[in-house]
């Protein structure tokens, strides 16, 4: 059985700029899939191509196995929530939501019933006859969502819909979006450059870099097992230390940072042996010690450069051998006396916490 939506070898150029380079992707029915990447990485370009706003330079977009590349935007039956919402300013909330049914010449009574159900779903009861300009940012976002869902699209495209909102409201609306996704069962395709937002909401995340999808997986897999230095550094904070003398030993990788031995569990350890590589460790996986830990590997000396108080956690910045900089986060109380600038401490980490990546 063909996938719900398939992208096959999609390429798109604007003049000499290649926005998409040979992207292929299957979107499963009912999933919450996020395109995540820095600006200009091609995620919005692909979204616009799927919506039918911009044709691909080459490649195909398939819906249930059928090529929809030539279908105009108004016949694709995909809903979209725009970045600035693009609500029709001259129409009220219910007129906005009912727009797609009106242009489809749906009977008036049915329009009213379906619009009323959407108004309930997004919690806009009492605001039905207001104009968008009289609504708050969060309410506008809900209207945009209802408008895009009322005609029961097969796919809902969301183009950075939360980026205009402040932090608290954004977190609240993230929960609501996940909730509506669960209730409607519609396939959600979400575009964002905010990695926290992506991790908090998605079933799967596709990470875009310079027109390519570099990794596509569940959020925890991407966070814990990034397949490249780009993914590792893009998702959250990551320490990357250049390693040398790496060799594969029984499915494990043994290497050195300066004079200190490091080990990481790697199924494809053979491939990295002898090539330039970095050791990647999350700041929260590092443990700070005042005495040299009793271990033969996975420990490094660290000279403290600064301690940044962040309320619940404290960030410690410092430098490791070979001039590499290290960042680690700890709970405030874990340290006893906070370390001071210039102090010489040790860090250690577990056998499964570090990863060696090409770079």
């Amino acid at each position: 059985m063909p996938a719900h939506i398939s992208i096959r070898k999609a390429c798109k150029s604007f003049g000499s700029f290649e926005a998409l380079r040979n992207v292929s992707l299957d979107i499963e029915k009912g999933e919450f899939l996020t395109f995540l990447g820095p600006s200009g990485s091609g995620k919005s370009t692909l979204l616009n191509a799927i919506a039918g706003f911009e044709p691909l330079s080459s490649g195909a977009i398939l819906k249930n196995g059928e090529d929809i590349g030539a279908t105009p935007a108004d016949r694709r039956n995909f809903g979209m929530v725009f970045q600035g919402y693009a609500l029709f300013p001259h129409l009220t909330v219910v007129e906005n939501i009912g727009f797609s049914l009106r242009v489809r010449k749906v009977a008036r009574t049915e329009v009213e019933g379906r619009v009323a159900r959407m108004v309930d779903l997004v919690g806009l009861r009492g605001h039905e006859h207001k104009r968008p300009s009289a609504l708050s940012g969060g309410q506008q976002q809900r209207v945009a969502l209802a408008r895009a869902l009322v005609f029961e699209p097969e796919l809902l495209l969301l183009d950075e819909p939360l980026s205009a909102l402040d932090k608290n409201l954004r977190e609240q609306l993230q929960d609501e979006l996940v909730d509506i996704h669960r209730k409607t069962g519609t396939t959600f395709l979400f575009v964002t450059h905010d990695q926290m937002e992506a991790m908090a909401m998605s079933d799967r995340i596709a990470i875009f870099d310079r027109g390519r999808i570099v990794q596509l997986d569940r959020p925890n897999v991407l966070y814990d097992e990034p397949n490249s230095r780009f993914v590792a550094e893009f998702l959250g904070t990551m320490n990357t230390l250049p390693v040398s003398r790496q060799r594969a030993v029984a499915g494990e990788l043994h290497a050195h940072v300066g004079e200190f031995g490091v080990r990481a569990m790697l199924p494809d350890a053979e491939q990295l042996a002898g090539k330039p590589a970095v050791l990647a460790i999350r700041p929260e996986k590092l443990t700070l010690c005042r005495e040299r830990p009793k271990a033969d590997y996975n420990l490094l000396p660290m000279t403290i450069d600064g301690v940044i108080f962040q309320g619940g956690t404290t960030i410690v910045k410092g430098s490791a051998p070979e001039g590499a900089s290290l960042t680690l986060t700890t709970a405030r109380d874990a340290l006893g006396n906070p370390p001071s600038r210039g102090e010489q401490l040790w860090v250690r980490w577990g056998h499964l916490d570090g990863r060696v990546l090409a770079g």
Partner: protein, 254 residues
């Protein structure tokens, strides 16, 4: 923020005074009891205001001006809207060039326009006719209507059109149901500017009409040149009041 400059205040006051003084000075002249243009010396009269209601002269000209202004403003607005929406939707590579080309005639000296239109209308036999005058006015005012409509379109969120298409509206539906309603103030502004400009147009009108078709500015001109009729002052006062009224109305709207 830019400091309180006394010299600036003086220049601002002087500018205002210079600009308004003549407009105010014309008021007493309109109330003279004499038959020629003069300061009233103790005797005031409304006779020149009454004269405006002569159906053969002033009233006829007001009618002609209104007819020409209505026709040319509607045609100019329609042309400008079609041009503006076309450019906005298609965003052709030559868009900026085309817009520049349409706006450029604003800088044509009125005398040059007058000569050119005189020449053209003479060739096609429309000199001194209402259609000829309408055609001339449309040529003169289309660029201004385009400015008003492009202004409204530039404030229109491009995503509105994409949203309409995404929600299933055809191109025509999206123009009628989304674009036009959202530039309605721009359309109105374009129409209103066109109306006013056509109504008061004089430089070209003087050249291309004048015997069969006499607009209000043309009649003022003739009267002033021929017999210094104080009715000219009366009609000027009425037009100044009308302008003030329009400005006040637009202020209260916003």
């Amino acid at each position: 923020m830019f400091g309180k400059s006394r010299l600036g205040g003086f220049l601002a006051g002087a500018s205002g005074l210079f600009l308004l003084l003549p407009l105010v000075a014309v008021i007493p002249f309109s109330f003279t009891a004499k038959r020629f243009l003069s300061m009233p010396d103790g005797e005031y009269s409304l006779r020149h205001y009454v004269a405006i209601f002569d159906p053969d002269t002033w009233l006829a000209s007001i009618g002609t001006s209104t007819l020409v202004a209505l026709l040319s403003s509607v045609i100019a607005t329609a042309l400008a809207a079609a041009f503006g929406i076309g450019i906005w939707l298609r965003r052709p590579a030559s868009g900026r060039f085309l817009i520049g080309l349409v706006l450029l005639p604003i800088i044509v000296p009125p005398v040059t326009s007058a000569v050119a239109l005189y020449f053209l209308l003479a060739q096609i036999g429309l000199l001194d006719t209402v259609p000829g005058l309408v055609l001339s006015h449309v040529v003169m005012i289309v660029p201004f209507a385009v400015i008003a409509i492009l202004g409204a379109l530039s404030r229109l969120d491009r995503n509105l059109e994409l949203a309409a298409r995404n929600l299933g509206a055809s191109q025509m539906q999206s123009i009628i149901m989304v674009i036009l309603p959202n530039i309605r103030f721009g359309l109105f502004a374009a129409w209103f500017v066109s109306l006013v400009m056509s109504w008061e147009e004089s430089s070209v009108t003087l050249f291309v009409s004048g015997v069969n078709v006499i607009t209000l500015p043309k009649r003022i001109w003739d009267n002033l040149r021929l017999d210094l009729d104080p009715a000219v002052a009366a009609i000027s006062v009425i037009m100044i009041l009308a302008t003030t009224l329009v400005i006040l109305l637009r202020k209260s709207e916003t």
